[in-house]
């Protein structure tokens, strides 16, 4: 047998020097020091450094702010902190002035000077950079008063904005690694497992399997040579979900601490984080965090003098959705093709290298220190009967306030979408929300009062998944969305099981035909017939849940499917073969804006006179629709 040479899967080893913290007492003393220096800095500027804000140019903003701070000679008195994701990505880049916690949004480098001199130094609140309530237009200076945050319960995600993810001392200062001390020095491994069981924590990666039960099974399983593994699944493959990435980027030590506690409870000898290649920033943050955890003595030999030794390595994913599945993920970690295997022997018994292995998702691991520190009873008091705690969702799509939110289980979809999310963009009409990614389904307006938990979502044909919530409006075509997921699943099916490989492809072909206007009424019945066969005949979760998106779409939006089949029409104006572009002569002001972007030069007209679109040459690229400010371009 080969593999798992040394501790660290990426081939780099940690420092061999003595760790800085060697006992719980060391930690408490260090914490006092770190907290003192953390608190000594009362006044500082925090810039959100999450990937969302980076896409909006936050690094340039941070640089501009630092430049001004230097020019003003304030380096010693006004630090600039680049923190993890604040969640409100829609409004990025986000800058917060401490200690007043003034929340500035959509900041640009040109605002740097006034943020430093007028706001941070002189204490002025810059009205123009504040968030404005969409209805009352009232400017809201503090994060916690913004409706987007008010209904949230940020237990796991809350410290993201307060700590520098590249500095372990921030995490320690705010109580980090105290749960680990509690676990190592005042709890037996079985007590920890019992605590996790009683907390009611269920896997956040999608399936919702009770975490404590998984841990107990792994604990019981024998290993021929004593090697046992814990793995953190950071192969966040669900399109539309990015909370795992933001957790690793914003608070990596919470995940690491959870893994060490789990490893101690289950007697694991090594840990791995399997991380997606599409997340370079998360990889960098995690690498730094693991190095620091080693230097400070939370990883390595004889952790904090407890006698327990453990380390965590990184394994980079190769970019395959199916590798979110436990056996496929482990195959990939062994250098093989990422194909799942039948699970009559579970991975907790024979996982990586055929050794007992416990795989949990990033968010699951990050919940563990909270449960240990504050107790199972506290945790079980949050959420619903069978779904405890909070869940982080990525609220995206056609909703006003997109971003990452953390809410208690049991909150309704309506509260999430309309109160936290601020309703639908451009005042359009809500149509559906998609949860659970390619394994989930679409949920219609009639079910908006559904409390969000594992079981309720499954009952309506969708699932929790890893927490993507993609909101759709009346301009989203439900047939097209089904086609989209089928396309995704066809590409991502590993090809091992015929019902998944061929069945999903067949359904996709049928739906594509319907999108082209060549559907037959019998097609819908055929899809409904094939769906259970695909689900029953597939080995892993990918195939078993593959029909969900199309089946829920037909179940809840049959009229729209029938419009495509019977009337050859796409009511939402999306399916290219079923729509035509035209210009409404009444609404058109003759501004000429649409004439130039048209690649076909098929729009003609004079200034201030209604334009005409020659549909025979139109390639339906959407350029005119995008630029028209008067809604005069019709897509029907």
């Amino acid at each position: 047998m080969t593999g798992t040479s040394g501790w660290v899967a990426d081939g780099r080893t940690g420092p061999t020097g003595t760790p800085l913290i060697r006992s719980p007492r060391d930690l408490e003393e260090a914490r006092k020091r770190f907290l003192a220096s953390y608190q000594a800095v009362q006044k500082y500027i925090s810039v959100c450094g999450g990937t969302g804000c980076r896409g909006g140019g936050c690094l340039a903003v941070a640089q501009a702010i630092r430049d001004v701070v230097r020019e003003e000679g304030l380096e010693q008195t006004l630090p600039v902190r680049l923190t993890g994701c604040h969640g409100f990505c829609e409004r990025g880049p986000i800058v917060v002035i401490y200690p007043q916690k003034i929340f500035y949004q959509q900041v640009k480098p040109i605002h740097a000077r006034k943020i430093v001199t007028r706001s941070a130094v002189a204490g002025e609140v810059l009205e123009d950079l504040l968030y404005k309530a969409p209805d009352t237009k009232e400017a809201i200076p503090h994060e916690e008063d913004i409706p987007f945050y008010r209904k949230q319960m940020r237990l796991v995600f809350g410290r993201n904005g307060a700590i520098d993810p590249e500095n372990i001392e921030d995490y320690i200062a705010l109580g980090g690694y105290s749960a680990l001390v509690k676990a190592l020095f005042s709890m037996q491994p079985d007590e920890i497992i019992e605590e996790v069981k009683r907390s009611g924590l269920r896997g956040r990666g999608g399936g919702g399997f009770p975490t404590g039960r998984k841990w107990a099974s792994m604990k019981k399983a024998p290993s021929p040579d004593g090697r046992r593994f814990v793995i953190c699944n950071a192969d966040e493959g669900d399109p539309g979900a990015f909370m795992d990435r933001s957790l690793i980027e914003g608070n990596p030590h919470s995940v690491i601490e959870g893994m060490i506690i789990g490893a101690y409870a289950m007697g694991a000898t090594a840990g791995y984080v399997y991380i997606r290649r599409e997340y370079p920033l998360a990889l960098q943050t995690l690498t730094t965090a693991l190095r620091q955890a080693r230097e400070y003595g939370f990883l390595g030999q004889d952790i904090l003098g407890s006698g327990f030794s453990f380390d965590i390595g990184i394994n980079r994913g190769g970019g395959a959705f199916v590798c979110g599945e436990s056996t496929a993920l482990m195959a990939s970690m062994e250098g093989k093709v990422g194909e799942p295997r039948p699970k009559y022997v579970h991975t907790v018994e024979k996982g990586l290298w055929d050794r007992p292995t416990c795989l949990n998702n990033v968010e699951t691991w990050a919940n563990v220190p909270l449960i240990i520190a504050r107790g199972a009873d506290w945790y079980a008091g949050i959420g619903t009967d069978k779904s405890k705690g909070t869940k982080i969702f990525s609220l995206v799509g056609k909703v006003n306030n997109t971003g990452l939110i953390e809410v208690p289980m049991g909150i309704t979809l309506r509260e999430v979408i309309f109160e936290i999310g601020g309703g639908i963009q451009k005042g359009r009409r809500f149509k559906a929300v998609q949860t659970g990614g390619p394994s989930g389904g679409v949920i219609p307006e009639s079910l908006l009062d559904l409390p969000v938990d594992f079981d309720r979502l499954t009952e309506v044909g969708s699932m929790m998944g890893s927490g993507g919530m993609i909101v759709m409006d009346d301009r989203t075509c439900m047939v097209d969305v089904a086609r989209y997921f089928l396309q995704f699943l066809t590409e991502e099916s590993c090809g091992k099981c015929v019902p998944c490989r061929e069945g999903v492809r067949r359904v996709k072909e049928i739906v594509e035909r319907i999108c082209r206007g060549e559907g037959r009424m019998s097609d819908l019945r055929l899809i409904e017939e094939m769906a259970p066969e695909i689900a029953d005949g597939s080995l892993c979760g990918l195939g078993q849940s593959a029909p969900n998106p199309v089946i829920t779409s037909i179940r809840y939006f049959r009229e729209e499917w029938e419009a495509h089949v019977r009337d050859r029409k796409c009511p939402a104006g999306v399916c290219k073969d079923l729509i035509t572009y035209s210009i409404d002569p009444v609404k058109c002001t003759g501004c000429m804006a649409c004439v130039k972007p048209c690649p076909q030069q098929c729009i003609t007209g004079e200034r201030k006179k209604p334009h005409v679109l020659d549909a025979s040459r139109c390639i339906k690229c959407g350029a005119c629709y995008e630029v028209c400010k008067y809604d005069a371009v019709l897509r029907q």
Partner: protein, 162 residues
């Protein structure tokens, strides 16, 4: 990255591949990581490099090839100097990503998933880069561009061409 002209890998790649193999202790279990580093170096996986990996790790070429073709991260063909990735995640999809992709195909003159003949640019779609709140998203040479519109595509294409 600029180690060599990717179209004509020089005679012996062993010198370049061996340090990568050594970094991972020539461990079969780390095949995916090894291939990732090779891909990073050449922007694709040259045949000679795969042969070297197969010999050095004592893994059949068929298995190396299976892994190299299974994962999206790998390309067996040289990729362009610029890489334009259109995010096809659900959030981007409902916000109009397909129209963005179509325009990039037209304006770059490259089909999705292909590389220009002069190796100037590769266009590919990716399933979610995790910047969903900024959709539709295009990643140009590892830099995330958010809220992309058809109008903004013109500027992106200009950047690639310059």
């Amino acid at each position: 990255m600029e180690a060599m002209n990717p179209t004509t890998p020089s005679g012996c790649l062993c010198e370049d591949v061996d340090p990568i193999l050594d970094r991972y202790g020539r461990d079969q279990g780390l095949l995916v990581s090894i291939l990732q580093d090779i891909q990073e170096k050449y922007r694709y996986l040259p045949k000679e490099a795969l042969e070297r990996v197969s010999a050095a790790l004592d893994v059949p070429m068929a298995q190396v090839y299976a892994v190299a073709t299974f994962f999206k991260a790998f390309s067996l063909k040289p990729r362009g100097r610029h890489v334009v990735q259109v995010c096809m995640g659900t959030a981007c999809h409902v916000r109009g990503a397909p129209l963005i992709r179509d325009k990039l195909e037209r304006d770059l003159g490259v089909k999705n998933g292909e590389t220009a003949a002069d190796l100037s640019v590769t266009l590919e779609s990716v399933n979610c880069v995790g910047a969903c709140a900024l959709g539709p998203v295009v990643v140009l040479d590892d830099e995330v561009q958010g809220h992309v519109t058809l109008t903004k595509v013109d500027a992106l294409v200009k950047k690639v061409r310059s």
